[in-house]
Amino acid sequence: MSRIQKERDRLLASTARTVGLTATATALICLSVPGSLPLPLYLASLVLFACLGYAQWQLTSLLRLTLWMWVVVVAGVALILLHLLPGTSLGPSAISAVGVIGAASVACVCVLAVTSRSRVLLLVVAATATIASLAATLWLTGSRMVEPLVFTVTGWIALTATGIWLSRTVPRTLKRISTMSRAYRVERQASETEARRRQSARLLHDTVLATLTLLAHSGVGVSHSALREQAAEDAALLRQLRLGFTPDPARSGDYKLKPVEESTLGNTLESVKQRFRRMGLEVNWHGAGQVLLPSDVLDAFLLALGECLENVRRHSGVNEAHVTITDDETNVRAMVTDAGKGFDISTIDTGRLGFTESIVARLRDVGGNARLFSSPGSGTTVVLEVPK
């Protein structure tokens, strides 16, 4: 049984159960009005009511459904026929009770019966049996016939219509929803592409992050006009990124923002240098300038380097830093040194160093690491290492 069918049957069954139990309770109260049935018959009817109610309750288990439907029909018809036994004309409450049993207690099975051919047979048999037993009971006891019979026919029509309509609506709706999965997939793809585009604009974000950090620290040591200039450049790049371009800033000549699989270190380092010069820190490069790195490694490496230099600028008290790049067969190493005031590593709050978890984690992600050496009065050295 497919899932859609199961959901459909669940809904039909819970509707049938609600309708059936409500009707059964109503009929039970009607019969409980004094004078409706002689006491022994009333007690017998309670047993049948219990069967009827239990079977209706079991409908939602969806197990042995047809069996429970038959139990409902048999118990309901038996309850109607029970009213033959007194042999006298039925009072208003008893007529109401048999009417409700016929119109809804038994008829609740027709909500479920429309889903398969064998159950449609059950529906026809049950409807015939109910109406026949009701007519026979009322006629033989000489009671009013028209109202309960019309009521019963109404109940069967209304509930069958509800069943047919529900059993068609549910699968149709669910199928319609499943066609929407394509829309979701496309949306997911688009969002993934967009995120990758933004992430791959890593140099842009590198400079934006540096500027934001600078702003957050009240731009210590940088002139307001330099800060404004830098902010304007970054904002313009972000705007381009947002408008769907991949910024390739010819203007500053430094940023290389097209996603490239491999980049040389040299020209990108130059951009870092420019940026720090504007903020008053002279960065001196030493060593290899033409190292090729995979883009994610370069990404992590540059971000970490930028962080280190920002720390030098902010905390060292000097305006010059040296970056020595060396490489061997397997690794690229950057040593960032300053001759500033230094600090005692054991006392410093690592968060303030900018050695935030994310930066170190990012280096580790690409298989690299970072080490820090410093002591008060003798400057600081950070060694960043990434694999080639």
């Binding site: 509707t15 309708v19 009607c30 209304a158 929803i177 995120a195 304007a232 705007r239 930066i359």
Partner: protein, 404 residues
């Protein structure tokens, strides 16, 4: 400040469309099915009136009540296709007022003068008429109206049955015909709506099966766009001099937090698997599932395995919701390498063990479709201890299945 073009800010346009669709589906074609039931019940009541018309003490009043009912039904027929999905409140209140009038007229018209009690018909017909409103008004409105109607009719019926208790039976049936249809209608509408929401959730979750093993995820992607925009605005403010330097404390804090979040988002997406995104993006799974997958092994599952795993988890959790009997179950999902396996990062063909644990599942109460789905993932062993169901699946990630 250079103007920022709001129209180009990325938005989740598709999901908005989906939201509209969700509402439309919730109500879709609900009226048609109720129409037949309503017409059948009202026809019965009209026949009942016709059969006893000679005995009505003030037949004019009852006829007037029926005319009011007829007016609202004809109005409903005419307006049906011109109305928005939800019936406007004033129209609903208008209908309620007319129906209150019909109830009053019918009660007055059938008031027993010399012992002869005739059935309430037009007043009862208000119940089936309310059923028509069930798909187009919030459940609370219908329940309130049905309860009010039930109370009024109940009091009238009891008062009239005081001389002869046998009259209670027919009176009770009258009340039942009046209040049961709208209440059952509300229940159906609510179940359908739950069903639609769950299905939409499943469809959304399943869209992750085709995504790359490690993905950025829709939420993070949106967040990244938002942060870029926030950064742009801030920098723009500084550049144009609109924001004074040095920054005041609040703006400085904002800059710092944007930078931190941006940093985190830039490195994100490399660690989160499709499964993580599926769980966090789902309204159903998000609060209910605790996922532990430190090595990101889920990324190695192929499309079929992913589909199976998601479907199984979804079925296990949503079962009580779909049966209309309560809250989703909670579930833990642990993915790890079996003990003793040499840890090889993202190595194709790696063995993994997926353990699903959930409590409160009856022993035979697991949807058979869930087992079928689990079979698609790999070999499994299930065990029950007390109320906890534990399913341990051993599987091998598919070397060719690494998507994207």
């Amino acid at each position: 400040m250079t103007s920022i073009d709001e129209r180009t800010v990325p938005r989740r346009t598709v999901s908005r469309g989906v939201g509209d669709e969700r509402d439309a589906l919730g109500r879709a074609r609900l009226d048609l099915g109720f129409n037949v039931a309503t017409v059948a019940l009202i026809a019965f009541l009209l026949i009942l009136f016709g059969l006893n018309v000679a005995e009505y003490p003030a037949v004019g009043l009852t006829i007037a009540a029926w005319v009011l009912i007829a007016i609202t039904l004809v109005a409903a027929l005419v307006l049906r296709f011109r109305l928005p999905d939800e019936l406007p409140l004033w129209l609903y209140l208008g209908a309620l007022a007319l129906w209150a009038g019909a109830v009053a007229l019918d009660i007055a018209g059938t008031w027993p003068t010399d012992g002869a009690v005739v059935p309430l018909t037009a007043a009862t017909a208000v119940g089936p008429a309310l059923l028509l409103c069930a798909p187009v008004r919030p459940a609370r409105d219908i329940v309130l109206a049905a309860t009010g109607l039930g109370l009024v009719l109940g009091v009238v019926v009891i008062v009239r049955a005081l001389p002869d208790p046998q009259l209670l039976g027919p009176g009770l049936v009258t009340v039942a015909i009046a209040i049961a249809p709208p209440l059952v209608g509300v229940q159906i509408v609510r179940s359908l709506r739950t069903l639609v929401q769950l299905e939409l959730d499943l469809v959304q979750v399943q869209s992750t099966v085709a995504s790359p093993g490690y993905a950025i995820g829709m939420l993070a992607s949106e967040e990244l766009a938002r942060l870029d925009l926030a950064a742009e605005r801030l920098l723009d403010g500084v550049a144009t001099g609109r924001t004074r330097l040095p920054l005041d404390e609040d703006t400085a804090d904002a800059a710092a937090s944007i930078a931190t979040e941006l940093r985190l988002h830039l490195i994100q997406g490399r660690k989160e698997t499709w499964l993580y995104h599926a769980v966090t993006e789902s309204a159903l799974l998000g609060p209910a599932v605790t996922l532990t997958d430190p090595d990101g092994l889920a990324a190695g599952l192929n499309r079929d395995q992913r589909d199976g795993l998601l479907t199984a988890v979804w079925l296990l959790i949503s079962d009580p919701v779909r049966a209309g009997s309560g809250q989703p179950r909670t579930l833990t999902l642990d993915i790890s390498r079996p003990a003793g396996t040499y840890p090889r990062t993202s190595n194709p063909g790696a063995t993994m063990e997926i353990v699903i644990e959930t409590s409160g599942v009856p022993r035979n109460g697991v949807d058979p479709a869930a087992w079928q789905a689990i079979r698609k993932v790999g070999r499994y062993v299930e065990s029950f201890s007390a109320t906890t169901l534990r399913i341990a699946i051993t599987t091998v990630s598919d070397p060719s299945g690494e998507l994207g």
